[in-house]
Symmetry: C2
Subunit: 329 residues, 2 copies
DNA sequence: CTGAAAGCGCTTACAG
DNA sequence: CTGAAAGCGCTTACAG
């Protein structure tokens, strides 16, 4: 019974009007004495207002988060961080999973807009014209995660500079024959920016023509391209656009009896937890997924308050030195 | 503009009352002709009703899902599966993360009850009296995942039999001195059932007094207990209640120069993706997390329809043979 | 500082 | 088969 109480019940028990109880929760004027009375009842009954009944409130105190999958380590970190930040600021996080379905993604956005959420954070594989059309039609603040959104606010991994860092590191360690396993160019962030960074970094050390392979994001893909590279040339280092691709490289190198890093160095991007479990531990560049979630949540709340927000915010990366790269000098 | 339409707007454009539009969405009587008119407008404007405005509806068409963390592979699988099943059945999934905080978990449950969701799925580390008290006070159907809930419906990993399988397997492979890294008994499923299964399985092969250590669920915890076990006795096998604990065991064994499985066998529970990346690949028992989510979602919907549901449903497990257990004979 | 009244976007008996 | 009215649990001007 205690669980189905409404604000009206609380008001009655406290001997005040329900508008006063409402004010109590929303920080309006309430005399200390009245506050105390209300608080007592609230606590006695463990009352929590129904956040979804604020149909005509200025603010719903709800932020929608659209994700392409629930089933990835990166997404898990990003939403954990968003949820934490939002909760601390008394907002409810409404997670909508699009399960890799672009139509569902668009519908999820529409739903959130209709539900009158205060803001939307969206992590997507690609921002299409349909997305932009929706975003332009609404007054609700939108923040795009991990993809560039020219017309609005986005939080980005610093793919180019991370790539460059890795390219330079590999060059500095004295490697000469390098293979690169990248992903397709439809993914601008990883397929283009990250690759360009790597190539420019290598160039600084005089490595002009690395072998370049392309793959999807899978473990199997990493294996396939590693095989192709090894058939073409005896490389002394394989750079992988993601750690998962590096896992594939490990598999093939070990199957072919090549030692890491004595025979071939391997380096990845991602900093997955798993990477430190490998033997030898994978050297990798870790992107700050928690930071991305945090910045996204912080930005949307700032926008709500009318504060200025940079249109393009870069998230830090961190070099994780494993034991998979050999000093060749 | 198109995005902020209400049912009243749709009704006006279609030349009907908003109650008719409502009936259209909820499957009430509407003449074919009227239906067609409404449908046309809906499609033209991509209208989606506000699911959270159904304040006095019999059904909200929302199921709450309370999870202890967003940041685990198992949880990711479970909620992916729940979300998929629910979406196919036109329900909205409302995910509430408790971030390993028991008070927040209780408050999340209270919130969901207050928000009048149709049902609640809860995955928790432990079902306390506080939980049961809340569950008993409400009429809302509750399904508990991965923990036994005597007073109601629960979906369970078959912890006892999985444990027994592993205990017998270890015995069958000829091990004599066994260490077991378990978790605390507050977690009845893993801390008690799984452990008891393991011990009974070992017993069948005459292994009566394994060294038993207890840990939290962390990588570090696994390392700590492994060290303790190795200091006490020279074991030939370490059984770990979760794969993560096994990762910790690997770390320590490798640091101490002990070879897996030549010197010490290791076996875990979980079947994480990472486990097959280890060297040697971890032998482990995999629980069907997708199955658990599916069964949970299916059960709650059945309960809503008044259909019978078994109070205790077991999810399958699968033996994943890696290379971390040696035949000692 | 507080209450009565109207309203948010929807659903539901109840007439017709 | 359809509409007018009341209501869900809240919030918000507006008086006082």
């Amino acid at each position: 019974m205690a669980e189905k109480m409404t604000m009206a019940d609380i008001a009655e028990m406290a001997g005040v009007a329900k508008s006063t109880v409402s004010r109590y929760f929303n920080g309006g004027y309430v005399k200390e004495e009245t506050k105390a009375k209300i608080q007592k009842i609230i606590e006695e009954y463990n009352y929590v207002p129904n956040a979804f009944a604020r149909l005509n409130a200025k603010e719903m105190k709800v932020i929608g988060v659209v994700v392409p999958t629930l089933n990835s380590k990166i997404t898990s970190r990003v939403i954990t961080s968003i949820d934490r930040y939002l909760r601390e600021n008394d907002y409810t996080t409404l997670i909508m999973n699009s399960d890799h379905d672009i139509d569902l993604e668009l519908e999820n956005i529409r739903r959130l807009i209709r539900q009158n959420v205060d803001g939307i954070l969206i992590s997507s594989i690609a921002i299409t014209k349909d997305h932009k059309e929706l975003f332009q039609k609404t007054k609700i603040p939108i923040v795009v995660l991990a993809q560039e959104y020219e017309e609005g606010v986005s939080i980005l991994d610093d793919d180019y500079n991370a790539g460059k860092f890795v390219g330079e590191y590999v060059g500095k360690m004295g490697h000469r024959k390098v293979g690169y396993i990248g992903v397709y160019e439809t993914d601008t962030a990883v397929g283009v920016k990250r690759r360009d960074g790597v190539l420019d970094g290598l160039k600084k050390y005089g490595i002009m023509n690395p072998l370049i392979g392309k793959s999807d994001y899978s473990f199997i893909g990493g294996q396939k391209v590693t095989k192709e590279i090894l058939e073409q040339e005896k490389v002394d280092c394989i750079i992988c656009a993601t750690d998962r691709l590096a896992f594939g490289a490990y598999k093939i190198l070990q199957m072919q009896g090549l030692r890491i890093p004595e025979d071939v160095s391997v380096i990845g991007f991602g900093g997955y937890d798993e990477s430190s479990l490998l033997t030898p531990e994978l050297t990798t560049l870790k992107f700050d997924s928690y930071g991305m979630g945090y910045l996204g949540a912080e930005s949307i709340l700032k926008m709500l308050k009318g504060e200025a927000v940079s249109k393009k915010q870069m998230v830090e990366y961190e070099f994780i030195q494993g034991k998979s790269v050999k000093e060749q000098n």
